[in-house]
Symmetry: C2
Subunit: 438 residues, 2 copies
Amino acid sequence: MKPVRVGICGLGTVGGGTFNVLTRNADEIARRAGRPIVIEQVAHRSLNPECDLTGIKTTTDVFEVARNPDIDVLVELVGGYELARELVLTAIANGKHVVTANKALIAVHGNEIFHAAHEQGVIVAFEGAVAGGVPVVKSLREGLGANRIEWVAGIINGTGNYILTHMRSEGRAFEDVLAEAQALGYAEADPTFDVEGIDAAHKLTILASIAYGVPLQFEKAYTEGISRVTFDDVEQADNLGYTIKHLGISKRTDAGLELRVHPTLIPKERLLANVHGVKNAIAIMGDAVGPTLYYGAGAGAEPTASAVVADLLDVARDIATDHHYRVPYLAFIGIGDDDGSMPILPMEDIVTAYYLRLLAVDRPGVLARVATILAEQGISIEALVQKEATEGELVPIILLTHRTREKNMNEAIRHIESMADIAGPVTRIRVESLDEQE
Amino acid sequence: MKPVRVGICGLGTVGGGTFNVLTRNADEIARRAGRPIVIEQVAHRSLNPECDLTGIKTTTDVFEVARNPDIDVLVELVGGYELARELVLTAIANGKHVVTANKALIAVHGNEIFHAAHEQGVIVAFEGAVAGGVPVVKSLREGLGANRIEWVAGIINGTGNYILTHMRSEGRAFEDVLAEAQALGYAEADPTFDVEGIDAAHKLTILASIAYGVPLQFEKAYTEGISRVTFDDVEQADNLGYTIKHLGISKRTDAGLELRVHPTLIPKERLLANVHGVKNAIAIMGDAVGPTLYYGAGAGAEPTASAVVADLLDVARDIATDHHYRVPYLAFIGIGDDDGSMPILPMEDIVTAYYLRLLAVDRPGVLARVATILAEQGISIEALVQKEATEGELVPIILLTHRTREKNMNEAIRHIESMADIAGPVTRIRVESLDEQE
């Protein structure tokens, strides 16, 4: 059969990896796809020393690829928002299929892009946008297609997981491990995107859309970073049987969908708690299948290339298929026609359990007052640890609560912080059991 | 679009689950598939009290379904070999697509079935045949399609994993936990299929074919069960930093493919070592993606139904597609034309590390003689533990070796067992590090 002709835009880390995987495994890929997948053109600004471009047509203008009539599929690996958006929309307008690993682009401009692609009858594939090489988009969109998805919870930012892993295993502070991660190239010079949860929220937004069949709504995601997690919290959590992970969590409830990224205590025995270093893992609960989990490298040249090339294989198979028989972009037909029956819940309406750490003056009655404030908000206590204090010192009090509404917890914390015997702000970390019942 | 009309053959555990998932999630499934998937007919021998068959056309003759012109897809859930084979071949001959969860059928008769299906241009899908609801067939066949697969290692029999989990956590003997598993319905009255590794070998055979693009060769798989694993071994392994799991392992080597099921020591920190109870998990190493893992329920009514219905969704999408554009049955085009360049290696040619447990007379020179025998076979020792003995008692010696060829280890064990100072047979359990380098 005729080869599929690919134009790669961007020859950085992922672009270079994609070029090399397509070249190195060309025979194996052709034997899987039933036709060769050939690189017709590469657009790049600077040379990637990892790639041998001998005999490859190159350009410095990505739009030349988007308009090249000899190209069937444009692979967008330039990153960022505006240039990528314009490039992808130009490629679509020229009748080309698109493969991208750009989570920011899909999370923020996906609805517009999928609408344009639908009108043109072309594929836009984005496996590489979530969890790098882990085929979680395909698993959720196709493999679990029989299920009503109940929740998704994932370690979807490798930098954050690297930091939390080393804080825990080596008893170090956040800033210290972050500096090391930057030196090793696992974290950017400006780490905000990773450690404040924005990158994870992009990926979670995409997962939630394909889990529940709702439009992409990145602007409604709640994000909280890990920069305020202390080693003391990590240690206290450990004593209580928990590990702190930076999770993206989306749950279906009767009132709507939860969509939130924040540090989370999870029971140590969960597989997610045992995912270390820069690796990613996503747990997905379906009503028929029960809990499942997908694990692997969430970033890097060849792991992400693995996802990009898998998308190219799908394009190679579906290229001759009538548009209506393809897997819908966001898993369900007619997501644009969503009737709003599953709104994204504001953060104060989510329901979860909590870990609280307070510093109190060691005086009779303080604990009773804290317990009363919680009770007034209908919050019940699951566990309480009060450390012994030396005379006159402040004592830390650690609390685990049962599940309650965030609004009530906000109110309780406001009251506790206003107590004369409580010093400084209350540390609050959400707790998820991730069990089959919840 | 036109509905896809399904005939379900067999209304036992998985058949009943499939019926119920298709019925309960019909709207969500139709919104994913772009068309309704309707149950046109059910063939069953006895009533399943879990299923409400009101308004459903039923029969007691499965072949009636295979010949029913109103049916597009036959779902084979009768189990076993001969009846299932005849039923599936009849359905194919009548131009029907087939979905099955029958691993024994695919592992043993798959080559014949896929050949017939290819001639007729119909789909035969079998996600449910490996690891129940875990979409590992799709992940390996499509999601990792860019990769040269290096190895696959999985906990693919829930019964065996249940037994090993409880032996370890409760310090109990194999027979004791097996009896409990039988009482709970996790193990059959005749547990041979599960605990001797035959069921796992069926699944491993399927995984290896789609990983490497070789024909199904169940008859060449090596199987060793867990019935000889003692709590003492479990405890010794734990002390050395390992957990014993019953794994199906297939590796690509320069000489050929390894295909083996046996108890295996793996490092405690691996995710596979933390998969407990009846759950399944498969680790897959690709040259581009690195290590990945897929986890979930490996059996049960609705988990397996989740896989069966996912296959039906694929059929619903591909039904109008030209046969040549579909994902090949065993992941690669032209597996029948295999040139034999990747033979399945006989067990004596595999290479792995070993755990050995011997009982020795407590006398000077015994250890030196054992070490000499190993050295003569080119086997080097990684760790050695000799327990203290009370006067005159036999002492256990625990050895971990570096990687060596099984043939050499057989020879060494033969020599060790012939020593006058060694009592009884040597216990040998293979050790796999499952790291990224190996």
